[in-house]
């Protein structure tokens, strides 16, 4: 039987792995190549690379990272962030991505998604939904890392995606993202009741229990996880000899002092999930 996927999510800014809260306030956590190789060796089922600032400027550094990583790592690589054209997709696949995820350009022009599916097949094309809960309880889809309001309701957008041939949805809760307060189960339930394709949930995992709860109580097939994996190993993977000219590395030294996250490793997390009879690929 098919397994649920454990997916480390690596947000990339320039040459660095970063982590924010609500997709904002990005702080340097380390070098993405090191984390990627570490997670591969530890038994990750897939890696998700998100260009955290792609909607704003330059993306060559992400492609360089993917190119280097793809040579060493033999598991699927998903690339998200700033993908707007068929050429962008071709380019991402050419440097080693297996699948791409699209948000902003999908909402601006759903026809682009249809064309992408026709060209690359539905298994290559993912749509990311960045959702923010409104005061009236409705979930709205945002673009540009949760900054731009679209007025589009998540439920309506999901219904539309069913008809566009998209192979998977990554549902990111901007509210929960980076907080460690658990996935937004209400949001995930809303989307999974409508969606007819695979769903990966992203945003909020603060402990192994949160991941267990996600995979036990919802029908999602993938769990994207960042903080609790990154913070477990960031200090160990940190090398002051690496080039950090482009940012402030103070945060790395403070990692571990937080009460928000119960950090873990992929083998420990997988062992726990298997013990709970969840279908997981053992390491």
């Amino acid at each position: 039987m098919e397994c649920k996927r454990i997916i480390p999510r690596l947000d990339i800014k320039g040459p660095n792995l970063v982590k924010g809260i609500h997709l904002e306030g990005l702080r340097i956590v380390g070098k993405p190549e090191k984390f990627a190789e570490y997670y591969y060796a530890q038994g990750a089922d897939e890696l998700m690379f998100v260009d955290a600032v792609a909607s704003l400027y330059e993306r060559n550094s992400l492609h360089d990272i993917i190119k280097r990583v793809a040579k060493q790592i033999h598991i699927p690589l998903v690339v998200a962030g700033g993908i707007r054209t068929i050429k962008d997709i071709t380019e991402a696949l050419r440097v080693g991505a297996d699948r791409v995820s699209i948000n902003t350009a999908a909402i601006q022009n759903p026809k682009f998604i249809e064309e992408a599916v026709r060209t690359f097949g539905s298994s290559t094309i993912i749509v990311t939904i960045e959702a923010i809960k409104q005061n009236d309880g409705k979930y709205l889809a945002f673009t540009d890392n949760g900054r731009e309001h679209t007025g589009l309701e998540v439920s309506d957008w999901t219904r539309q995606l069913n008809n566009l041939g998209v192979g998977e949805i990554i549902i990111t809760s901007v509210d929960q993202e980076g907080t460690g307060q658990g996935y937004d189960y209400q949001l995930i339930k809303l989307v999974s009741e409508i969606a007819t394709m695979n769903i990966t949930a992203s945003g909020g995992a603060g402990s192994p229990d949160d991941v267990e709860k996600l995979l036990t109580n919802t029908s999602v097939s993938g769990a994207a996880i960042a903080s609790i994996l990154h913070y477990e190993i960031a200090k160990e993977l940190f090398d002051p000899a690496d080039d950090y000219r482009e940012g402030n590395i103070e945060y790395i030294n403070k990692i571990g002092n937080t009460k928000m996250f119960q950090t873990t490793t992929i083998p420990a997390l997988k062992a726990k999930l298997i013990e709970k009879s969840i279908n997981i690929r053992p390491n």
Binding site: M1, E2, C3, K4, R5, Y40, G43, D45, A70, K71, H74, I75, P76, L93, R94, G96, D98, R99, R118, T119, F120, G121, S122, S123, T124, G167, E168, T196, M197, N198, S219, S221, G222, R281, P282
Partner: protein, 213 residues
């Protein structure tokens, strides 16, 4: 040194496969040149994407006949994912399309789930168990039964003869052939180039097969 041609017909993840081959010391040349294909010692036929586009590309690039001729020489052809599906007589993806007709059978879309409690999402995007139906086949040497491999696909192959079934897999309670074989033709539905260490073993075994022939 054996010459292995990795066929480039603009449909797929050539570099991932090339990297994986490189890891196990199997040198490949990425090519769509019929002459180079003819002179190779073995072929790898990759593929990601839609069936009609793939078969159209093979025709446009005049590759169908060289591949069919190669199959008749007894030298190995290794089809991966869509590459394997092209071995078959026909596919029903986006209308009926003729394949290479090297193995009798067809390519079908996964059936929609019949129950609400157990949805079968199409495409399958998952690591899944591979149950080896021909335990002594050298492609699966040193690979435990029911090992996990990575799958991404909406369609599966159904061979006319059960003798072609090399492996089977269960996707949401639907059992299908995840690897097929007919003498020198070997096809697998999953992606060994994306299946970690166990996947690399498949390439190692393919290398051994080629060198032993």
């Amino acid at each position: 040194m054996m010459k292995v041609a990795l066929i480039d017909y603009k449909m797929g993840n050539l570099f991932s496969i090339a990297h994986a081959c490189e890891k196990v010391g199997l040198e490949v040349e990425i090519t769509n040149n019929p002459e180079k294909i003819k002179n190779a010692d073995a072929l790898i036929l990759p593929g990601v994407g839609a069936y009609p586009l793939a078969i159209e590309q093979l025709y446009i690039q005049n590759l169908t006949e060289p591949i069919k001729d190669f199959a008749n020489t007894g030298k190995y052809i290794f089809g991966i994912c869509l590459g394997m599906q092209l071995f078959m007589d026909q596919s029903n993806e986006f209308g009926v399309h003729q394949g290479l007709g090297l193995i009798e059978g067809e390519v079908l879309r996964f059936p929609e789930s019949t129950t609400n409690t157990q949805p079968r999402f199409i495409p399958q995007i998952a690591w899944n168990n591979v149950s080896i139906e021909q335990p002594n086949h050298p492609l699966f040497k040193n690979i435990p039964n029911n090992e996990y491999f990575y799958f991404v696909h909406s369609n599966y192959v159904k061979t006319k003869s059960t003798q072609n079934i090399l492996c089977s897999t269960d996707y949401s309670n639907f059992k299908y052939s995840s690897a097929i074989v007919q003498d020198n033709l070997i096809g697998i539905q999953f992606h060994p180039e994306k299946s970690g260490i166990q996947g690399l073993k498949i390439f190692e075994n393919y290398k051994e097969l080629i060198y032993k022939r």
